[in-house]
């Protein structure tokens, strides 16, 4: 079976003070090859935990993640990861960063050179390939992170708020780049974000999660990512249905937040 299957994942953290936190409860999900799913939810809903489980950094208390027919037991090159920031290797230049995966896999430059240079061009880093990463702007650094992940040719790309630290304009540009790369490479992508707009624009599928315990609240299938590919993201925002979807999801998350706040007030 080709695709990513999340099967009845539960995650419980036992705290030192004797209480336990149910970070995820019975989360099940099936992602087909080539789908882009964005995940939204108020803080504490377990979205990063879910991503870490899929990446293999955390083992779930129960349930399993199955990719291409085999269970995930740890991190692996088949599941690439793009972090919010700070995950680049400052002691390598841009090209060395991007070629890290192939080089660790024992490939020679003859094998990875063409692909890496192609990715550098696609991500607009062609002129910066000999620069140190700390000399680049935040947006450029995230381009490096994207290219580095793609250079390794993973089956699934996991993005943990990859654009969260960027300013609004850079962010918009990068959203276009993510869509473009997704379409060109046909990768399966899970993208966690705090921005409702970003989730709607990029998510072919959109998952809203709810906290305490972390669970799937609602799932959408949206047409906007398909529209955005090759088009203008700002035009997509005027497309029919966009505003309504955004309002609906915003309201949903607002209600959740209020519920949380209400609960904390009750406790006090």
């Amino acid at each position: 079976m080709s695709g990513l299957s999340i099967e009845n994942i539960s995650m419980r953290f036992d705290l030192p003070n004797g209480t336990a936190v149910q970070a995820l409860q019975d989360v099940s999900l099936l992602l087909n090859k080539g789908e882009l799913m964005s995940v939204l939810g108020p803080s504490g809903c377990g979205k990063t935990t879910l991503l870490n489980i899929v990446a293999g950094f955390l083992a779930p208390t129960s349930g399993q993640v199955v990719l291409n027919g085999h269970a995930v037991t740890g991190p692996d090159a088949e599941r690439g990861m793009v972090f919010q920031q700070g995950a680049l290797f400052e002691w390598m230049d841009v090209r060395e960063n991007v070629s890290f995966g192939p080089r660790m896999g024992g490939q020679t430059e003859a094998q990875w050179g063409a692909q890496v240079d192609h990715l550098l061009d696609v991500t607009g880093l062609g002129d910066f390939k000999d620069k140190a990463t700390y000399e680049l702007s935040g947006g450029m650094q995230q381009r490096v992170a994207l290219a580095r992940c793609l250079a390794n040719d993973p089956d699934v790309i996991l993005m943990d708020e990859p654009l969260g630290a960027l300013d609004a304009l850079t962010r918009e540009k990068m959203q276009g780049l993510v869509l473009k790369l997704w379409k060109e490479t046909g990768k399966t992508i899970i993208l966690i974000t705090h921005s409702v707009e970003e989730a709607i624009l990029l998510g072919e599928r959109l998952l809203v999660m709810a906290p305490r315990p972390g669970r799937i609240h609602e799932e959408y299938r949206l047409p906007f990512a398909e529209m955005g590919v090759g088009g203008d993201l700002r035009e997509v925002k005027t497309a029919p249905g966009y505003a309504e979807t955004r309002e609906e999801i915003l309201e949903m998350i607002w209600n959740m937040e209020e519920e949380i706040m209400g609960r904390t007030e009750d406790m006090q």
Partner: protein, 424 residues
Amino acid sequence: MIGVMILLVYVAIFLGSFLVVRFFVRRSTSDFTALKTVTFGDESAVASNRIASVVSVVTIFLIWGSFTGSNWVPGFLHAPGPFVGDTSFVYTIETGDGTRDDATVFVRVAGFGEQAEKFEVDPGEGIAKDDAVAMPASRSSTILFDRNDEVTRKDGAQVVAIDGVAIGPDKAIQTPAGRFALTAKGAISYAPPRGLQMEPIWLPPPEAVVGRLIEIADEGYRDSTLWNHLGYSLFRVIAGFLFGALLGIPLGYAMGLSDWFRGWFEPIVEFMRPVPPLALIPLVIIWFGIGETGKIILLFLASLWIMAISARAGVSGVNISKVHAAYSLGASKFQIMRHVIMPNSLPEIFTGARVAMGVCWGTVVAAELVAASEGAGMMIMVASKFQLTDIVLMGIILIGVIGFGIDVLMRKAENWLVPWKGRS
């Protein structure tokens, strides 16, 4: 007294040069800092003032030269020197029966480092006879005025006035000739004006120190050339530091990567770290003697804990995202060690290395002060026993310059090898 004077002069130059520079040197208006209106509290607007640094260094040498009567400082800048040359004063004695008589004491004061030459004078007439005294500058001299007098102190004679000013056993006086007092036995204690200059035994003038440097660089000191002394100290530091780093860095890595290693070595490292290396000198001497082995082991111990702790901090400080990213890119544990953890820890290790080199340099000098047959510390220790202050000063300056040089080199190496430090 001299200390207070020097402090006052120093403060005066500090304030004076500040005001002069403020009023007469215009800041360039082209740089951005000059346009800032808020500078007080803005740390980035406070760059070290070059003029202040130059004036500061010049001031130190000026004060040094001025208060030691250096040839390198023009005469009008010299602090008043001690009286040197011939002087005389008249003392009045009173015998037991009330008779008074005057006599003159001729004093010849020799300058610093010169031998006071004895001389004779004609004793003259009267009960009290004239005396001749030779003495070095800036000292006091007890003058047994009655050695040639007809009536001596034993006979009940006593000094009642100097140059016409009354003096008594409890009453010291100051005249233009100097300071006078009477000893318990009635002799005259005389100190010619001391001025404000330091004796070379306390503080030699700069040219004396430079002269010593040239002399010792040329002829060596205590059976070794100067380069030998300094070379030995440097060799000990580098050997001790290298051994310390060679063991300390892997130890720090192991402590950062394994709970067993950390648990095992943490008590040892945390205990040894605050022990000053100087406190280990006696034990090292008991165990290894005063030879090279003992010194290198001491420096090894001085750098070991610093290097271990900095390597551990370097490993612990790795952003977990970097490690996760590397795993997700298919790197093995060994590759993560080699390509992520080790380069990531380099900035911390360099900081540790700079600290360790500084500590080692301080420790080696101290160890050589205690016991050594060569070395910079040994040089100044032996010189101090012979009161060769100029060699002591020369040694201190050389030690300072080398210590500073080590730090500069380490910083250069740091900029070259870990340019990403503090910029991730």
